[in-house]
Symmetry: C2
Subunit: 320 residues, 2 copies
């Protein structure tokens, strides 16, 4: 049914190896022959079978992309960019969603390992030790996670947090709530670490929180009660959920409490109040992570991407 290298070979009276070479090492075959083969192949609608190719070469031309939650608007731009970049290099992408569950994440990596040439691990929830162990099975590139000796694309979360807190401080806020994310999150740790070093602030830590609107909704009462006038949330979803919750309790944002998120996802850019947030270069990260993975040279390269604060409507002066 499907047309193979053999059919092409027969069609133009050469051996299969010649056809094979026409595609995988064109310079080894005489231009005249090559053209005949190409013509025949095109004619028959031949497409190389990647599974067969993978079997001999050991390269699948597939890469895995593992994220905690596709439905979190932070990831789609990253995925999209990674996929586009991969496609340009003739690779396909397996996208897998772990549902924020480290066990699922591990199993996914294990089953994917043999089927891909490498895996992009985005904001993993697995422990460093486990990741190192799995790295023996398949090359990784980490996104937003730092492990010594492993290639990674990082976003400068620490800087983002500092900018955000300085912005709050500049507006006169002193008592500030920090909503952390899920356990195992590198970005969450970075945020906390950066915040802890900021002088002159009265920091209140809440967490771990689910990295979704419901997570934000859930802490809203605590936040309202703790006396903080400024909040830095783990991500925009949490921030939006929080605002939702606060508004429902008639706590005005930014009137009584200023809120800053992280990621600069679409929902934060629409509606009222528009979210003040730290922009994360997700698309760039996706692109670079793919490049890092495919140029296996550069080994333990680590790329650091800049972040910036985007001031919109969810922050304002502290009431005295």
């Amino acid at each position: 049914m499907t047309v193979t290298i053999k059919d092409v070979a027969r069609a133009c009276g050469v051996h299969v190896s010649t056809v094979s070479r026409t595609f995988s090492a064109p310079h080894l075959v005489n231009p005249a022959t090559r053209n005949r083969v190409l013509a025949a192949a095109d004619d028959l609608g031949y497409r190389p079978n990647r599974a067969a190719r993978a079997l001999t070469t050991g390269r699948t031309f597939n890469i895995g992309l593992i994220v905690a939650d596709i439905a979190n608007p932070f990831f789609p731009p990253l995925i999209k960019a990674a996929q586009a970049q991969a496609r340009g290099r003739d690779y396909h992408v397996f996208v897998a969603d772990t549902d924020e569950d480290p066990r699922v994440e591990e199993e996914l990596i294990r089953t994917l390992a043999k089927q891909v040439d490498g895996v992009l691990l985005c904001s993993p929830r697995l422990s460093n030790r486990m990741i190192e162990r799995l790295a023996e099975d398949v090359p990784f590139v980490l996104v937003n996670r730092r492990i010594k000796g492993m290639p990674a694309v990082l976003m400068d979360v620490g800087k983002g947090a500092r900018l955000a807190l300085e912005h709050l401080a500049g507006l006169g806020h002193r008592r500030i709530a920090l909503l952390s994310g899920p356990p195992g999150s590198w970005t969450s740790n970075e945020m906390q670490a950066a915040a802890a070093e900021m002088p002159g602030l009265d920091l209140l830590f809440f967490g771990p929180n689910q990295p979704t609107e419901s997570g934000g909704l859930a802490v809203a009462p605590e936040v309202a009660a703790c006396g903080a006038t400024g909040v830095l949330a783990y991500n925009d979803l949490v921030a939006l959920g929080l605002i939702e919750g606060l508004t429902a309790m008639d706590v005005e944002v930014p009137g009584r409490i200023s809120v800053i998120g992280f990621d600069d996802i679409l929902p934060g850019r629409l509606g009222r109040p528009k979210l003040t947030t730290v922009a994360m270069p997700a698309a760039v990260a996706g692109r670079m992570a793919v490049d890092l993975l495919l140029q296996s040279e550069g080994e333990g390269a680590v790329i650091n991407l800049d972040t910036g604060l985007i001031v919109r409507e969810s922050t304002g002066r502290a009431q005295s």
Copy 2:
């Protein structure tokens, strides 16, 4: 390096075919032997090589999932559900984003065809004829597209549109703008067809529009100028963009214009005003589409999913 069926065979003194059978046809091998094999396999950390398996069986245990734009919040829940369902059946999912470009879509299908057992085509932009032609290469299940003889999962867009328009009519709106989507969109056609049959309304059609906020933003001036007091938008993104644009022009929503979207995506549920919209069962569709694809019986089955109107804050009484 990697452990194969041979290693396992050697490790427990049986022929490779026995090992193969313990995994692909366990009932054909003696329980005692089977256990020995299983133990050895587990011990060595053996995992069957899917590429090799695909070569002989012709089944890859992969499925393709093609969407117009991953970054449109409508799709991630669908993708997530499809992926989870597939994983439960031991399948992996290739997700591909076409950037709303039919040519990319076609090329993607072509290259994916040999590598997957079937493809979920979500809201395709390709022509019916082209889809039918590509269907010769690989089994499809369509999502939100109806082509005779092809299995599909449909959402009742017509009903959604009717509910939305009735709601507007009930609030006293008579002059209503309909913002259609991209060319080639089935849902857009369904909406228009349903709307055209509604009696007693003064319908204004605008389109095609980009199915994103910028699409909505772009038509805002026209909508504001056309005298309509109610709007039904192609999707929530368009609706949100429109509201954004109208608000910027000091046209109040729902004060002066009521807006209804489609999809019930996350951004519409947050912020102000919360969007009145038609809920689309995306996750269910993803799940069912996978099932439909994998149980190849049921051939040209078509599944129809219900939709419903969710009234929130972006609609209100018409001013007299």
